[in-house]
């Protein structure tokens, strides 16, 4: 029986090659899009799950309330980890990691700045799972000055030889000894280190500070802290102990500075998608997971709709077959089985094509999505189950309507040939499906345009400082920092270079936040404020506008110690609008004003975006650093960038004694802030293209059906004198109406969803304009028209005599 079903299904597919081809194309595109999205989502959802104990690993986050600020950080204070282990029996082990910002490593006398080296407690391997190629996890980081390298870093430094035991000179005090090599971390790790240096390397010299349980130490956050919990421990019960923990270790100082603190535990596997904590590495966004999931589902749905649409459209042709089969004794159930066999066969063929397509396009997809998903991921049991479900779902959905509809024909009616059209209800259904498809395609198009517009807006927005023609150098080498003044003077000799400024931060990159006491009528007001430590030329170098008071001045001896410049948001937030100049600030003092470094406000700058546009402009304080810091920014004439880079490079080589010249352009650094959005934009655009394409395939099939249906009517009308224009208008009026309805459905939905996205993701965003919407509508209409024309023009131009021939 099944063989018979298969044979006649195959024959039917072959007999209607054009429709079968369209279906195959649509279904395989829909399926491959769904597969890609599934792989992407799977990869996103697998973040950090390669650690064997991932279900027991949590990160300790810090939640501070200081003054008006309510801040959540991904990092915690040094003693949090050890004290947790001490206080809570649920905590089996803890480990702390902190990035060794751009560490200079010199294996075999070659210099490298490595951006992904972390200091880590030796317990890191008790918590996280790593594949050791060489060395032993038990003791790899037990000694100071030990380093564990990733396989690719080991290869970069030492080629194929076993590096264990090798010494690497570094920017740290002593050479580092390679103790182990681990496999590269999977790309879906939220924290991708390429090397780990034993924490003892930095704690050895200042053990007192590192091991201090003084209240002060608890308020100074700086390390990523992970704990491994007992398998059976209750997270809730543990978190209920935190207030008591706070009282014991932190309250005394907290009360002094009007602040409070609570740790919170975040499951390791939640970090990538759910974290919106400051200082986090997480780049994922659950909202995108939902959006892409929906897009994938939509595409499948559209492809399935195409199938249903074409199958019912062909029903007149199939009706006779149904009649004959029924007369020959087929039960309705058998016919249903017959039609489902066809849809399953079609979906199966499409799935073969789709997997081939995924195989061919996966490298490009990986590059676009910044993933390294292997083709073999498809064969993971979870995905296989998912794929089978998707295929079954698609086949059932595609086959359902044709099976029910076609099998319901009465044999007498269809054999007598009086089934002239496939019924009013199916006609209505087909229209609904076209509307549905175009509504989705239009929504996605609108989304694509708006995302693009928003990105353009971010790129072009006036940030309140000069973003172009600024060169940023990394000064990791502390010995070089001592030669900073002569280096600055040397490069300022070049007339194309106007300003040079050294600081610990640049606009667009978050710097540090400190607790400070602000002068007020009721005494000292405790606040946590972001600040930059700079030199005399910071405002000039970045073109930041001063609106009150003055800039730092080399002629004022006291500026270096006590001058502060604040932004407008600062004086507004803290009620200093009327008279900000001369106001006093104490950094690091308690709420009684004891201790700390006193500052006096000498100037106010116009608000500028010192953070990315994801964030609002907060109060900001600029004060002078006593020592040279790690960033040097050089502003230069617009068209001289190559010349300036060459020149600075030459000077660097003179001063830096062989250290690599490491520079970036400010604009590039700022663009990195929106890398996630750019990537999403690309994926979004491709999904949209796929969707439109699938919708058009559907329309092509439908229009061929309409053409067939209308051939006679067109013939009659031509005989009666209709012009081609008359006919075109008649045929496209309905399509126009359907696309118009789709547009009316798409607009408010798209408007609503996009508005949510803009408002939740960006502090600064475009206002939605009708142009994206209109453009999407026009494209939908134009593409629809073009696709329809493909068949209809042929019919319109055909000889009417053919059309009205005797039946």
């Amino acid at each position: 029986m099944i063989k018979n079903y298969l044979i006649s299904a195959w024959r039917n597919i072959r007999k209607q090659r054009f429709y079968a081809l369209l279906n195959l194309l649509g279904l395989s595109l829909g399926l491959s899009a769904a597969l890609f999205i599934m792989l992407y989502l799977h990869d996103e959802l697998q973040y950090d799950r390669h650690h064997a104990k991932h279900e027991q690993i949590y990160r300790v986050n810090s939640h501070f309330k200081i003054g008006d600020m309510d801040d959540r950080f991904a990092i915690a204070a040094l003693p949090i980890g050890p004290s947790f282990k001490l206080e809570f029996p649920e905590v089996i082990e803890m480990t702390r990691l902190t990035p060794a910002e751009d560490l200079l490593l010199r294996p075999a006398n070659r210099d490298y700045y490595e951006r992904h080296i972390f200091f880590a407690d030796s317990t890191v391997f008790d918590i996280f799972t790593h594949d050791f190629i060489n060395g032993n996890p038990k003791n790899a980081l037990n000694e100071p000055n030990s380093i564990v390298l990733s396989a690719s870093l080991a290869n970069k430094f030492f080629g194929n030889q076993n590096p264990v035991g090798q010494l690497i000179e570094s920017g740290l005090n002593k050479p580092l000894k390679v103790t182990a090599v681990i496999s590269d971390l999977p790309l879906n790790s939220h924290m991708r280190y390429e090397g780990l240096v034993s924490m003892l390397t930095i704690s050895e010299g200042n053990a007192a500070e590192f091991n201090s349980f003084e209240p002060n130490a608890f308020w100074n956050i700086g390390v990523y802290t992970f704990v491994l919990l007992n398998e059976n421990s209750s997270l809730k019960a543990l978190e209920q102990k935190f207030p008591a923990f706070y009282d014991k270790y932190m309250k005394s100082l907290g009360d002094q500075i009007n602040a409070s603190f609570l740790p919170d535990l975040m499951p390791l596997t939640d970090i990538h998608l759910h974290s919106d904590y400051e200082s986090d590495f997480a780049t994922g966004n659950m909202a995108y997971i939902y959006i892409f999931g929906a897009v994938g589902l939509f595409m499948l749905l559209l492809a399935a709709i195409n199938y249903m649409n074409m199958a019912t459209a062909r029903s007149v042709k199939r009706a006779r077959e149904v009649g004959i089969r029924k007369v020959a004794g087929a039960q309705r159930e058998q016919l249903i089985a017959q039609f489902f066999t066809e849809s399953f066969l079609m979906v199966f063929l499409s799935a073969l094509l789709a997997t081939a397509l995924v195989n061919a396009l996966l490298p490009d997809f990986n590059e676009l999505a910044n993933k390294s998903i292997p083709y073999s991921a498809i064969f993971e049991p979870k995905l296989i189950i998912g794929i089978v479900i998707i295929l079954a779902f698609t086949a059932l959905l595609s086959g359902s309507y044709p099976a029910m509809f076609l099998s319901s024909f009465k044999p007498v009616t269809v054999l007598r040939g009086s089934l002239t059209s496939s019924g009013k209800s199916s006609h209505l259904l087909r229209r609904l499906l076209v509307v549905f498809q175009f509504a989705i395609a239009t929504m996605l198009m609108i989304g694509t345009f708006v995302v693009h517009e928003q990105l353009q807006f971010l790129k072009a927005k006036d940030l309140g400082f000069e973003r172009e023609n600024r060169l940023v150098l990394q000064l990791q080498d502390t010995t070089f920092r001592n030669k900073l003044e002569p280096f600055r003077n040397a490069i300022l000799q070049n007339p194309a270079i106007s300003h040079v400024s050294n600081a610990n931060g640049i606009p667009g990159q978050t710097t540090m936040k400190l607790v400070m006491q602000l002068e007020s009528e009721e005494g000292w007001n405790t606040q946590a404020v972001m600040l930059a430590l700079t030199d005399y030329d910071y405002l000039n170098t970045f073109g930041i506008k001063l609106i009150q008071g003055r800039d730092f001045d080399r002629n004022m001896g006291t500026d270096k110690q006590e001058a502060a410049i604040v932004n407008e948001a600062f004086i507004k937030q803290f009620g200093w609008e009327n008279d900000p100049l001369g106001k006093k600030i104490l950094i690091g003092a308690d709420s009684k004003g004891e201790g700390g470094r006193p500052l006096k406000v000498i100037g106010v700058v116009a608000d500028y975006h010192f953070q990315s546009l994801h964030n609002p402009i907060e109060p900001y304080l600029i004060t002078m650093s006593e020592n040279p810091r790690h960033l040097l920014t050089i502003s230069f004439q617009a068209d001289k960038s190559n010349e300036v880079i060459d020149f600075v490079n030459q000077q660097w080589d003179l001063f830096a004694s062989g250290k690599p010249f490491d520079y970036k352009i400010l604009d590039q650094i700022l663009a990195e802030n929106y890398e996630a959005e750019s990537r999403i934009n690309v994926i979004f655009r491709i999904s949209t293209l796929f969707t439109i394409f699938i919708a058009l395939i559907g329309l092509l099939g439908l229009s061929s059906y309409v053409a067939e249906q209308k051939t006679k009517e067109i013939g009659i009308r031509k005989i009666l004198g209709a012009s081609i224009f008359n006919l075109l208008r008649m045929l496209f009026a309905e399509l126009g109406l359907l696309i118009g309805i789709a547009f009316l459905i798409a607009v408010p939905l798209a408007w609503w969803r996009i508005q949510i996205w803009l408002e939740s993701s960006f502090e600064y965003h475009i206002d939605l304009q009708p142009d994206s919407f209109i453009l999407a509508g026009l494209i939908a209409f134009g593409a629809g028209l073009l696709t329809m024309s493909f068949h209809l023009i042929r019919v319109i131009n055909s000889n009417p005599v053919e059309a009205i021939k005797y039946e």
């Binding site: 002239t420 059209s421 006679k712 009517e713 013939g715 009659i716 009308r717 031509k718 005989i719 009666l720 004198g721 209709a722 012009s723 008359n726 000889n799 009417p800 005599v801 009205i804 005797y806 039946e807």
Partner: protein, 255 residues
């Protein structure tokens, strides 16, 4: 106005005569990749205004091809065709369309009504394409529906009508533009004898009022309504006079 220029050029070939239709050596050859079929072979024919002519012959003899050419739905391969003294055999589709909608009404065996349009709208269609204003159209449609005694059905759709009623609608549609010529292609072919007679009476009546009618038919009974019978065999006119044909021969041909 491309049309006007061609009109004048063609006029040089036009011949003044009293005939509504005149063909000279009209030939139609259909070619496929391998086969060449001569559907019509050197047909010479004259139809005077006010005539009622029936074209008869067995299946495949070229009746419909001839009717299509006479109705300006198709061009002949060679030969000349004068319609109202215009040589139209080389007209383009656009020119034929223009000529057709002003001068010819069609009635088909299978009615060829548009199922999605009401009776009224079906009859109105040719007037729409002539660009006549809605008020005028309405008047004309109502008039012709009354004339065909189908006005009570004007809001119905074709599938709600009997075959005879549908054919009356089709005739109404053919008449509504008040054409000089009506071409009927087996108008009773899909009707029972009662309805068939009804339609034939209708055509005869129209002819009595002055409309020229050319009708293709298989039916001897229908042919008897016509004043003249043109008999085709294998694409050629074999005889033109009903009176000369004897019944037995007829029976043979009709098989």
């Amino acid at each position: 106005m491309l049309f006007n220029i061609l009109w004048h050029e063609n006029r040089e070939n036009d011949v003044k005569s009293n005939d509504m239709i005149r063909t000279e050596e009209l030939t139609k050859v259909f070619r496929t990749d391998e086969v060449e079929t001569t559907a019509l072979h050197q047909i010479n024919l004259e139809i005077k205004p006010g005539e009622f002519a029936a074209i008869m012959g067995p299946s495949g003899c070229g009746k419909s091809t001839l009717l299509n050419i006479l109705g300006l739905l198709d061009n002949p391969s060679t030969g000349k065709y004068y319609f109202l003294n215009h040589e139209v055999s080389r007209y383009s589709e656009r020119q034929r369309s223009r000529f057709r909608k002003e001068n010819i009404g069609f009635v088909f065996q299978n009615f060829n009504l548009i199922d999605e349009l009401s009776v009224f709208a079906n009859v109105e269609l040719p007037l729409v394409y002539q660009g006549i204003n809605p008020a005028e159209r309405r008047k004309k449609v109502i008039h012709v529906l009354e004339q065909m005694a189908i006005d009570h059905r004007s809001k119905h759709f074709p599938l709600q009508l009997s075959g005879g009623q549908q054919q009356r609608v089709a005739v109404a549609r053919a008449l509504v533009t008040n054409p000089a010529l009506i071409l009927a292609d087996e108008p009773t072919g899909n009707l029972d004898s009662v309805h068939g007679t009804e339609v034939m009476e209708l055509l005869k009546d129209l002819n009595n009022k002055g409309t020229t009618i050319i009708m293709v038919t298989h039916s001897q009974r229908d042919a008897e309504y016509a004043g003249r019978v043109i008999r085709l065999l294998d694409g050629q006119v074999v005889t033109e006079n009903l009176k000369q044909i004897k019944k037995p021969e007829l029976a043979e041909v009709l098989v």
